[in-house]
Symmetry: C2
Subunit: 208 residues, 2 copies
C-alpha cells in the first residue's frame, strides 16, 4: 500500500466530566492538514502549496469527530497530475479493497455504487482557490477540488465485479492508495438530477 | 443549537517519532459511537439499539482522520421518526448555516448543491441491518441507513436562496441540528446517472 497507509498514533485521554460527547484535537494547531502535518509530504505534487489569489484560513484547534478508514482504493494513478480531471474522463478499472472487519457489510452491494473516500494528500485550509484548469478564483464549496476543510470525495461508479472483499469499478479519479470511508447504493430516484446546473460552470462553457 | 453542538474535549499528545502522519484514537475502545459515547443519548430514538438479525462488530480502537463540523443544518424534524424516509419525500425548506470561519468558501455556490453531513446520533458498529420499512437484512454498504462506520450522508438539494452564511434549501431528510461537513457543486455530467439500478430495491418494487 502507499505511504499514507502507514499511520502513526496519538494518545487520547477522556474528560469524564463531559460524558455526553467528546471532541478530538489535532496533534498541533496546524493551519494545514493536522492529520498528516508534514507539509513537505502533503504538498509533494504542488511545491508552492498555495497559488496567487488563493486564500487560506486558520483551521480550528480541534476536530469534532473521527473517521475510520474502512479500506483502500487501488488506481493506476500515483501522481496527482496523472489523475483524470473528473471520474468520467477515464474508463480505467480500479479496485476497492474492503477491510475484513467490514466484510459482512457488503451483503447486497449491487449494480451501481457510490463510494466516499478521504483525500489524504490535500491541504484543508483553502477557502478561495484558483484551479489550474479554470484559472479563476472561486469558493471551495463551489468547487470539487480535493482541498477542502473535510477532504471527502464522492463518485458514482459502475460496479463490474465483486470477488470477496474486492470490488472492481469504473468511474474513479483518485490517487492509488486513497483511503475509503464509505460505500452507499446510488438511487436514481433521489441522486440523479439530470437538469442540475452549476451556474459558473455553465457560463464558462456557453458564454451568453 | 442542539445538544450535539455542545461538544466536550479530549487532550491529544503527538508522537514525534512519526512526523509524517498521525492517527487519532477514540476516547474509549467503544463498540458503538466513540465520539458520542453515551449510549442512552445515542439510542434515544431506538431504545433496543439493535434489532433481531442485525450484526454489530467491534470498531477499531483508534480513528484514522478527524472531521471539522463547518456548520449546522436546521430542519423541522427533531425526532428520528419524524424525518422523511428520503430527501424527495418532503419539500420542507431547511437552512444550512455555515460557520463564519468558512464564509469565503461560499463564493460562487450556485443553483444545485450537494451537502455532506455527519449523522451524529447514529451508532457506527452495525454491518448487517434490518431497516424497519423493508424488514429484510442487508449489508450496511447496500443501505443508506444512518448507522454506518462513518455516518456521512450526501443529499442533492435545490438551493432556493443564500443570505449571508445561510443557505435555504429543499431536499434534506435529517434531524434538526445535524452537523454539516461539506458542500459541493453537483455536476449532472458526472453525478447524474438516471438509469442506475439498485438490484435488491428494484426487485422489491417489481417482483419478476
Amino acid at each position: 500500500m502507499t505511504a499514507a497507509a502507514a499511520l502513526g498514533r496519538h494518545g487520547v485521554t477522556a474528560d469524564s466530566s463531559l460524558p455526553m460527547s467528546a471532541t478530538i484535537e489535532p496533534a498541533t494547531p496546524a493551519s494545514h492538514n493536522p492529520v498528516l502535518p508534514s507539509l513537505g509530504f502533503l504538498m509533494a505534487d504542488d511545491p508552492s502549496g498555495i497559488r496567487e489569489d488563493e486564500v487560506a484560513i486558520d483551521l480550528p484547534g480541534q476536530f469534532d469527530a473521527g473517521v475510520y478508514f474502512i479500506g483502500r482504493i487501488r488506481t493506476p494513478w500515483v501522481r496527482r497530475e496523472d489523475c483524470p480531471k473528473n471520474p468520467r474522463e477515464s474508463d480505467a478499472l480500479c479496485l476497492i479493497e474492503i477491510d475484513s472487519r467490514y466484510a459482512q457489510a457488503l451483503a447486497g452491494v449491487e449494480t451501481c455504487s457510490h463510494p466516499l473516500y478521504w483525500m489524504d494528500r490535500a491541504r484543508r485550509d483553502l477557502v478561495l482557490q484558483v484551479p489550474r484548469h479554470y484559472g479563476e478564483r472561486r469558493g471551495t464549496f463551489a468547487l470539487r477540488s480535493p482541498a477542502r476543510p473535510n477532504p471527502i470525495a464522492a463518485s458514482v461508479v459502475t460496479l463490474r465485479a465483486i470477488e470477496g472483499r474486492v470490488l472492481s469499478v469504473v468511474g474513479l479519479d483518485c490517487l492509488d492508495g486513497t483511503p475509503l470511508i464509505d460505500i452507499k447504493p446510488y438511487f436514481a430516484s433521489t441522486d440523479s438530477v439530470p437538469d442540475a446546473v452549476v451556474g459558473w460552470h455553465a457560463r464558462r462553457r456557453s458564454p451568453v
